[in-house]
Protein backbone atom coordinates (compact mmCIF):
# COMPACT_ATOMS: atom_id res chain seq x y z
CA UNK A 1 0.00 0.00 0.00
CA UNK A 2 1.57 3.27 -1.09
CA UNK A 3 0.79 6.59 -2.69
CA UNK A 4 -0.01 6.03 -6.34
CA UNK A 5 -1.63 2.62 -5.82
CA UNK A 6 -4.59 2.26 -8.18
CA UNK A 7 -7.81 0.77 -6.87
CA UNK A 8 -9.37 -2.10 -8.82
CA UNK A 9 -11.72 -0.72 -11.47
CA UNK A 10 -15.39 -1.09 -10.51
CA UNK A 11 -17.66 -1.19 -13.55
CA UNK A 12 -21.33 -1.12 -14.53
CA UNK A 13 -21.86 -2.58 -18.00
CA UNK A 14 -25.19 -0.85 -18.61
CA UNK A 15 -26.86 1.53 -16.17
CA UNK A 16 -30.39 0.28 -15.54
CA UNK A 17 -33.51 2.43 -15.96
CA UNK A 18 -35.38 -0.04 -13.75
CA UNK A 19 -33.02 0.58 -10.81
CA UNK A 20 -33.73 4.31 -11.26
CA UNK A 21 -37.46 3.66 -10.85
CA UNK A 22 -36.87 1.64 -7.68
CA UNK A 23 -34.61 4.38 -6.37
CA UNK A 24 -37.11 7.13 -7.13
CA UNK A 25 -39.69 5.21 -5.09
CA UNK A 26 -37.28 4.44 -2.23
CA UNK A 27 -36.22 8.07 -1.99
CA UNK A 28 -39.70 9.49 -2.62
CA UNK A 29 -37.93 11.61 -5.23
CA UNK A 30 -40.47 13.24 -7.54
CA UNK A 31 -37.89 14.48 -10.08
CA UNK A 32 -39.29 13.03 -13.32
CA UNK A 33 -36.03 12.94 -15.30
CA UNK A 34 -35.26 9.70 -13.46
CA UNK A 35 -38.25 7.81 -14.83
CA UNK A 36 -40.23 9.85 -17.37
CA UNK A 37 -38.56 10.10 -20.78
CA UNK A 38 -40.94 12.89 -21.84
CA UNK A 39 -39.62 15.01 -18.98
CA UNK A 40 -36.05 14.34 -20.09
CA UNK A 41 -36.91 15.42 -23.64
CA UNK A 42 -38.69 18.54 -22.41
CA UNK A 43 -35.47 19.64 -20.74
CA UNK A 44 -33.47 19.01 -23.91
CA UNK A 45 -31.47 16.23 -22.29
CA UNK A 46 -32.08 13.51 -24.87
CA UNK A 47 -34.35 10.50 -24.63
CA UNK A 48 -32.94 8.33 -21.87
CA UNK A 49 -33.69 8.57 -18.12
CA UNK A 50 -31.01 10.23 -15.99
CA UNK A 51 -29.44 8.21 -13.20
CA UNK A 52 -29.89 9.59 -9.68
CA UNK A 53 -26.88 11.40 -8.24
CA UNK A 54 -26.98 9.19 -5.13
CA UNK A 55 -26.67 6.08 -7.30
CA UNK A 56 -23.62 7.52 -9.03
CA UNK A 57 -22.20 8.36 -5.62
CA UNK A 58 -23.09 4.87 -4.40
CA UNK A 59 -21.04 3.30 -7.20
CA UNK A 60 -18.04 5.27 -5.96
CA UNK A 61 -18.72 4.08 -2.40
CA UNK A 62 -18.90 0.49 -3.67
CA UNK A 63 -15.53 0.79 -5.35
CA UNK A 64 -13.64 2.24 -2.40
CA UNK A 65 -15.25 0.04 0.26
CA UNK A 66 -14.77 -3.14 -1.79
CA UNK A 67 -11.09 -2.28 -2.04
CA UNK A 68 -10.76 -1.31 1.64
CA UNK A 69 -12.49 -4.42 2.97
CA UNK A 70 -16.18 -3.65 3.50
CA UNK A 71 -18.92 -1.03 3.87
CA UNK A 72 -17.75 -0.17 7.39
CA UNK A 73 -14.46 1.22 6.02
CA UNK A 74 -15.65 4.53 4.62
CA UNK A 75 -14.79 7.58 6.72
CA UNK A 76 -15.40 10.39 4.29
CA UNK A 77 -16.48 10.93 0.71
CA UNK A 78 -16.63 14.27 -1.05
CA UNK A 79 -17.83 14.36 -4.63
CA UNK A 80 -18.78 16.83 -7.30
CA UNK A 81 -21.49 15.86 -9.75
CA UNK A 82 -20.08 17.00 -13.09
CA UNK A 83 -22.46 15.52 -15.59
CA UNK A 84 -25.33 13.13 -16.13
CA UNK A 85 -25.25 9.37 -16.42
CA UNK A 86 -28.00 8.02 -18.64
CA UNK A 87 -29.74 4.66 -18.79
CA UNK A 88 -27.65 2.31 -20.89
CA UNK A 89 -24.36 4.06 -20.20
CA UNK A 90 -21.31 1.97 -19.36
CA UNK A 91 -19.54 3.50 -16.37
CA UNK A 92 -16.51 2.67 -14.26
CA UNK A 93 -15.04 3.92 -11.03
CA UNK A 94 -11.33 4.54 -10.84
CA UNK A 95 -9.36 5.51 -7.77
CA UNK A 96 -5.79 6.33 -6.84
CA UNK A 97 -4.26 6.49 -3.36
CA UNK A 98 -2.96 9.99 -2.65
CA UNK A 99 -1.94 9.56 1.00
CA UNK A 100 -1.53 6.87 3.64
CA UNK A 101 -1.56 8.20 7.17
CA UNK A 102 -2.41 7.38 10.76
CA UNK A 103 -5.00 9.20 12.83
CA UNK A 104 -5.77 8.29 16.44
CA UNK A 105 -4.09 4.95 15.94
CA UNK A 106 -6.11 4.13 12.81
CA UNK A 107 -4.49 3.71 9.38
CA UNK A 108 -6.27 5.73 6.73
CA UNK A 109 -5.93 6.03 2.98
CA UNK A 110 -6.97 9.11 1.05
CA UNK A 111 -7.92 8.52 -2.57
CA UNK A 112 -8.83 10.53 -5.63
CA UNK A 113 -11.92 8.96 -7.20
CA UNK A 114 -13.83 9.37 -10.44
CA UNK A 115 -16.87 7.84 -12.08
CA UNK A 116 -16.15 7.75 -15.80
CA UNK A 117 -18.72 7.37 -18.54
CA UNK A 118 -17.66 5.31 -21.55
CA UNK A 119 -16.95 7.76 -24.35
CA UNK A 120 -17.60 10.83 -22.23
CA UNK A 121 -16.38 13.07 -19.47
CA UNK A 122 -16.25 11.97 -15.79
CA UNK A 123 -19.70 12.21 -14.25
CA UNK A 124 -18.41 12.34 -10.68
CA UNK A 125 -15.04 13.31 -9.25
CA UNK A 126 -13.90 13.63 -5.69
CA UNK A 127 -11.92 12.29 -2.79
CA UNK A 128 -12.49 9.45 -0.34
CA UNK A 129 -10.93 8.44 2.94
CA UNK A 130 -11.10 4.83 4.06
CA UNK A 131 -9.90 2.87 7.07
CA UNK A 132 -7.23 0.36 6.13
CA UNK A 133 -7.22 -3.18 7.53
Amino acid sequence: MKVGTELPVWEVGSVSAEKMKTTAALLADPTPIHFDVDAVRALGMGDRPVNQGPLNMGYVMNAVTAWAGGPDRLRRLRVRFRGPVFAGDRVRVRGTVTAVREEDGVRLADCDVALEVDGGEPAVTGTATVVLP
Binding site: M45, M57, L74, V79, F81
Partner: protein, 153 residues
Protein backbone atom coordinates in the same frame (compact mmCIF):
# COMPACT_ATOMS: atom_id res chain seq x y z
CA UNK B 1 -36.55 36.21 -12.58
CA UNK B 2 -39.42 34.89 -10.50
CA UNK B 3 -37.33 34.07 -7.42
CA UNK B 4 -35.21 37.05 -6.39
CA UNK B 5 -31.69 37.00 -4.97
CA UNK B 6 -33.10 38.56 -1.80
CA UNK B 7 -35.55 35.69 -1.41
CA UNK B 8 -32.72 33.26 -2.06
CA UNK B 9 -30.44 34.80 0.56
CA UNK B 10 -33.26 34.84 3.10
CA UNK B 11 -33.33 31.03 3.13
CA UNK B 12 -29.80 30.73 4.55
CA UNK B 13 -30.01 29.56 8.15
CA UNK B 14 -33.47 28.09 7.76
CA UNK B 15 -33.65 24.93 9.83
CA UNK B 16 -35.19 21.67 8.74
CA UNK B 17 -37.97 20.31 10.95
CA UNK B 18 -35.92 17.11 11.30
CA UNK B 19 -37.12 13.71 12.39
CA UNK B 20 -36.00 10.13 12.81
CA UNK B 21 -35.08 7.44 10.32
CA UNK B 22 -34.84 3.70 10.89
CA UNK B 23 -32.84 1.59 8.45
CA UNK B 24 -35.34 -1.18 7.93
CA UNK B 25 -33.91 -4.50 6.67
CA UNK B 26 -36.17 -4.54 3.60
CA UNK B 27 -35.08 -1.05 2.65
CA UNK B 28 -31.43 -1.95 3.21
CA UNK B 29 -31.86 -4.83 0.78
CA UNK B 30 -33.55 -2.73 -1.90
CA UNK B 31 -31.08 0.15 -1.64
CA UNK B 32 -28.12 -2.23 -1.91
CA UNK B 33 -29.71 -3.91 -4.90
CA UNK B 34 -30.45 -0.58 -6.61
CA UNK B 35 -26.89 0.66 -6.11
CA UNK B 36 -25.45 -2.67 -7.30
CA UNK B 37 -23.93 -3.64 -3.96
CA UNK B 38 -24.38 -7.01 -2.23
CA UNK B 39 -27.83 -6.98 -0.55
CA UNK B 40 -27.80 -8.13 3.09
CA UNK B 41 -30.08 -11.15 3.76
CA UNK B 42 -33.29 -9.56 5.06
CA UNK B 43 -33.91 -12.16 7.79
CA UNK B 44 -30.41 -11.75 9.27
CA UNK B 45 -29.68 -8.12 8.46
CA UNK B 46 -30.40 -6.47 11.81
CA UNK B 47 -27.20 -5.15 13.33
CA UNK B 48 -25.21 -5.53 10.12
CA UNK B 49 -23.42 -2.57 8.57
CA UNK B 50 -25.67 -0.65 6.20
CA UNK B 51 -24.50 0.65 2.83
CA UNK B 52 -22.80 4.01 3.48
CA UNK B 53 -25.21 5.64 1.05
CA UNK B 54 -27.70 5.41 3.91
CA UNK B 55 -26.03 8.41 5.52
CA UNK B 56 -27.48 10.55 2.75
CA UNK B 57 -30.71 8.55 2.48
CA UNK B 58 -31.42 8.76 6.22
CA UNK B 59 -30.45 12.43 6.38
CA UNK B 60 -32.68 13.52 3.55
CA UNK B 61 -35.40 10.99 4.38
CA UNK B 62 -35.87 12.47 7.86
CA UNK B 63 -35.09 16.12 7.26
CA UNK B 64 -38.76 16.73 7.97
CA UNK B 65 -39.90 17.91 4.55
CA UNK B 66 -40.21 16.27 1.15
CA UNK B 67 -38.26 17.19 -1.95
CA UNK B 68 -41.16 19.17 -3.39
CA UNK B 69 -41.29 21.33 -0.27
CA UNK B 70 -37.53 21.82 -0.21
CA UNK B 71 -37.61 22.88 -3.85
CA UNK B 72 -40.49 25.25 -3.03
CA UNK B 73 -38.31 27.01 -0.42
CA UNK B 74 -36.33 28.16 -3.45
CA UNK B 75 -39.26 28.94 -5.72
CA UNK B 76 -38.73 25.80 -7.81
CA UNK B 77 -40.38 22.49 -8.60
CA UNK B 78 -39.06 19.08 -9.58
CA UNK B 79 -40.02 19.87 -13.18
CA UNK B 80 -37.44 22.68 -13.25
CA UNK B 81 -34.75 20.00 -13.20
CA UNK B 82 -32.87 20.68 -9.96
CA UNK B 83 -29.72 18.54 -9.74
CA UNK B 84 -27.05 17.65 -7.23
CA UNK B 85 -24.01 19.88 -7.21
CA UNK B 86 -21.67 18.48 -4.58
CA UNK B 87 -21.90 16.17 -1.61
CA UNK B 88 -19.79 15.26 1.38
CA UNK B 89 -20.47 12.40 3.76
CA UNK B 90 -18.45 12.17 6.96
CA UNK B 91 -19.00 8.96 8.91
CA UNK B 92 -17.85 8.88 12.52
CA UNK B 93 -19.01 5.28 12.78
CA UNK B 94 -20.77 2.86 10.42
CA UNK B 95 -24.54 2.98 10.11
CA UNK B 96 -26.33 -0.17 11.25
CA UNK B 97 -29.36 -1.92 9.82
CA UNK B 98 -32.21 -1.75 12.32
CA UNK B 99 -30.84 1.34 14.06
CA UNK B 100 -32.75 4.61 14.31
CA UNK B 101 -31.12 7.98 13.68
CA UNK B 102 -32.27 11.47 14.63
CA UNK B 103 -31.76 14.04 11.89
CA UNK B 104 -31.30 17.79 12.22
CA UNK B 105 -29.91 20.43 9.91
CA UNK B 106 -30.17 23.74 8.10
CA UNK B 107 -29.56 25.61 4.89
CA UNK B 108 -25.97 26.88 5.06
CA UNK B 109 -25.49 28.78 1.79
CA UNK B 110 -27.32 30.11 -1.27
CA UNK B 111 -25.75 31.85 -4.22
CA UNK B 112 -26.89 32.96 -7.68
CA UNK B 113 -24.47 32.37 -10.54
CA UNK B 114 -24.54 32.70 -14.32
CA UNK B 115 -22.93 30.12 -16.59
CA UNK B 116 -21.91 30.88 -20.17
CA UNK B 117 -23.72 27.81 -21.45
CA UNK B 118 -26.33 27.26 -18.76
CA UNK B 119 -27.48 30.80 -18.03
CA UNK B 120 -28.49 31.73 -14.49
CA UNK B 121 -28.67 29.13 -11.75
CA UNK B 122 -28.73 29.02 -7.96
CA UNK B 123 -26.48 26.85 -5.80
CA UNK B 124 -27.94 26.00 -2.41
CA UNK B 125 -25.95 24.26 0.32
CA UNK B 126 -27.48 22.41 3.25
CA UNK B 127 -26.10 20.28 6.02
CA UNK B 128 -27.71 17.44 7.99
CA UNK B 129 -26.47 15.61 11.09
CA UNK B 130 -27.32 12.08 12.16
CA UNK B 131 -27.35 11.16 15.82
CA UNK B 132 -28.06 7.66 17.07
CA UNK B 133 -31.46 7.54 18.74
CA UNK B 134 -31.95 7.50 21.67
CA UNK B 135 -28.37 7.82 23.03
CA UNK B 136 -27.44 10.86 20.91
CA UNK B 137 -24.06 9.70 19.59
CA UNK B 138 -23.07 11.79 16.56
CA UNK B 139 -22.76 9.27 13.75
CA UNK B 140 -22.54 11.22 10.51
CA UNK B 141 -22.80 14.58 8.77
CA UNK B 142 -23.95 15.12 5.20
CA UNK B 143 -23.30 18.36 3.37
CA UNK B 144 -25.00 18.79 0.02
CA UNK B 145 -25.55 21.35 -2.65
CA UNK B 146 -28.44 21.51 -5.10
CA UNK B 147 -28.28 23.42 -8.37
CA UNK B 148 -31.51 25.10 -9.45
CA UNK B 149 -31.61 26.08 -13.14
CA UNK B 150 -33.29 29.47 -13.64
CA UNK B 151 -34.42 29.25 -17.20
CA UNK B 152 -37.12 31.93 -17.06
CA UNK B 153 -36.36 35.62 -17.09
Amino acid sequence: MAFSEEELAAQVGRRFPGGTYTIEPWRAWLVADAVLAEPPPVQKAAGEVAHPLFAWIAATGAMGIGWDELFSWFGATAADGPVFGEHETTLHRPLRIGATYRVSGRVVSAERKVGRRTGPFDVVGYELDLHLDPDGTHVARCWNSIVFPRRTT
